[in-house]
């Protein structure tokens, strides 16, 4: 499912389509959830006026947000029940704290109970996050582990769909979240990696990784690269209607017979193809790990 475009000339048709696009990247998390759900069906759970904010950030002199940077919304997608868990990348880099991660884990748990009682609901995670919020370190890590346990329990009943939809990307423990999803959707602007570029440079040195080199970063961990090497199931343009259509068609595929994270032997086989003394560049990796091989 590949709907982005190459360097074709800008025709009138392409220009009109571009101008009609409703950008996901330019929206904030709450708007994204509203735009994905059918008009009028958005209903927020634990919204700003419930004031489930971080109790830890003010103790460290950091201004909290009234929703702790996670929007949980129930509604309909294409007429079917859905729950959107959207991370706000503009607040603390989308970092997961005790409260924000608990909102996601709780929403996944409720979705599981709904599915178990015969009321299927489609869970969608909008991942724009640098991983665990360092100020809440172990508390955040502990709840991210709960998110993972909930996804693994829930994905047996219903496909869990992740979307990497913003310029922050998806890093740290939350990149594992993306890897556990039944299906993963990426934009070309997305990045997916356990360790972010600056972390690699800081820990391994600039010879290992130059975090100022955008071409290098996107060639290795960018949305297109992740799609072409089989780590994502759909690569879409930055457009709300494309995302809505993609979510519905992935949901229609149902629960995959085998989740990506269960393919342990296959990934071992792939890793064995790489010589650590001469690691491939982005295009080289696409040649040895073509996406068709995994599906």
């Amino acid at each position: 499912m590949h709907t982005t475009h190459d360097d074709n000339p800008i025709t009138k048709e392409r220009r009109d389509r571009f101008l009609k696009r409703q950008s996901i990247i330019e929206m904030r998390a709450r708007q994204r959830a509203q735009a994905i759900l059918d008009p009028g069906s958005f209903r927020e759970l634990l919204g700003p006026f419930d004031r489930m904010e971080s109790p830890w950030l003010p103790l460290e002199g950091i201004v909290p947000e009234s929703d702790d940077g996670v929007i949980v919304a129930r509604g309909q997608l294409g007429g079917r029940p859905a729950v959107i868990m959207a991370i706000e990348g503009a607040f603390q880099g989308g970092g997961m704290g005790e409260v924000s991660a608990s909102k996601i884990a709780g929403a996944l748990g409720l979705a599981r109970r709904d599915c178990e009682s015969g009321k299927p609901i489609l869970p969608v995670l909008l991942l724009e996050t640098g991983g665990v919020r360092l100020q809440e370190a172990n508390l955040g890590e502990a709840v991210v582990a709960e998110i993972h346990a909930e996804i693994i329990a829930l994905r047996r009943k219903v496909p869990v769909i992740g979307v990497i939809n913003g310029m922050v990307g998806c890093f740290g423990g939350m990149s594992i979240t993306a890897g556990l999803c039944s299906y993963l959707v990426v934009l070309p602007q997305a990045r997916l990696e356990l360790n972010g570029p600056e972390v690699i440079e800081q820990e391994a040195g600039i010879d290992e990784f130059d975090a100022s080199d955008k071409h290098l970063i996107w060639s290795l961990m960018g949305g297109e690269q992740r799609y072409e090497t089989g780590f994502a199931d759909a690569l879409i343009e930055d457009d709300v209607s494309a995302l809505r259509q993609t979510l519905q068609s992935l949901a229609a595929r149902g629960v995959p017979t085998r989740h990506r994270s269960e393919n342990v032997d296959e990934y071992r086989r792939r890793l064995a193809k790489i010589d650590p003394a001469a690691p491939p560049d982005g295009p080289g990796l696409r040649r040895i790990w073509p996406r068709g091989e995994m599906q």
């Binding site: 904030r28 919204g47 700003p48 006026f49 003010p58 002199g61 950091i62 201004v63 909290p64 947000e65 009234s66 940077g69 706000e88 503009a90 607040f91 603390q92």
Partner: protein, 97 residues
């Protein structure tokens, strides 16, 4: 982080609550809701210390015109006075509509 509190006299009241904005770089969130008290109570939490007088000037000007009883919370992440005023206007518009 600094917490500032302000209180303004009010005549009218609000029927709806509204939330706008995000606690992101150069931005702020505003929560405005009806209050049982006859005043507009404002609590500001800001990431930038030492700007009490600027906050007072911006809020004095806004609430002199707004004139309604409300409970207002502002979580600020370094917004300029212009951005603060626009977010307040946006919140007020949503709470009045």
């Amino acid at each position: 982080m600094e917490t500032l509190n302000f209180e303004y006299e009010a005549k009218g009241s609000l029927t709806r609550r509204a939330h706008v904005g995000v606690v992101g770089s150069g931005d702020l969130e505003v929560l405005i809701e009806p209050s049982g008290k006859p005043t507009a109570e404002v609590r500001v939490r800001t990431s930038v210390d030492g700007y009490t007088q600027v906050w007072k000037d911006v809020l004095d000007r806004f609430f002199a015109r707004f004139g309604r009883a409300a409970r207002v919370e502002i979580n600020d992440f370094g917004a300029t006075p212009g951005t603060v005023t626009l977010r307040l206007e946006q919140a007020a518009e949503e709470a009045r509509s």
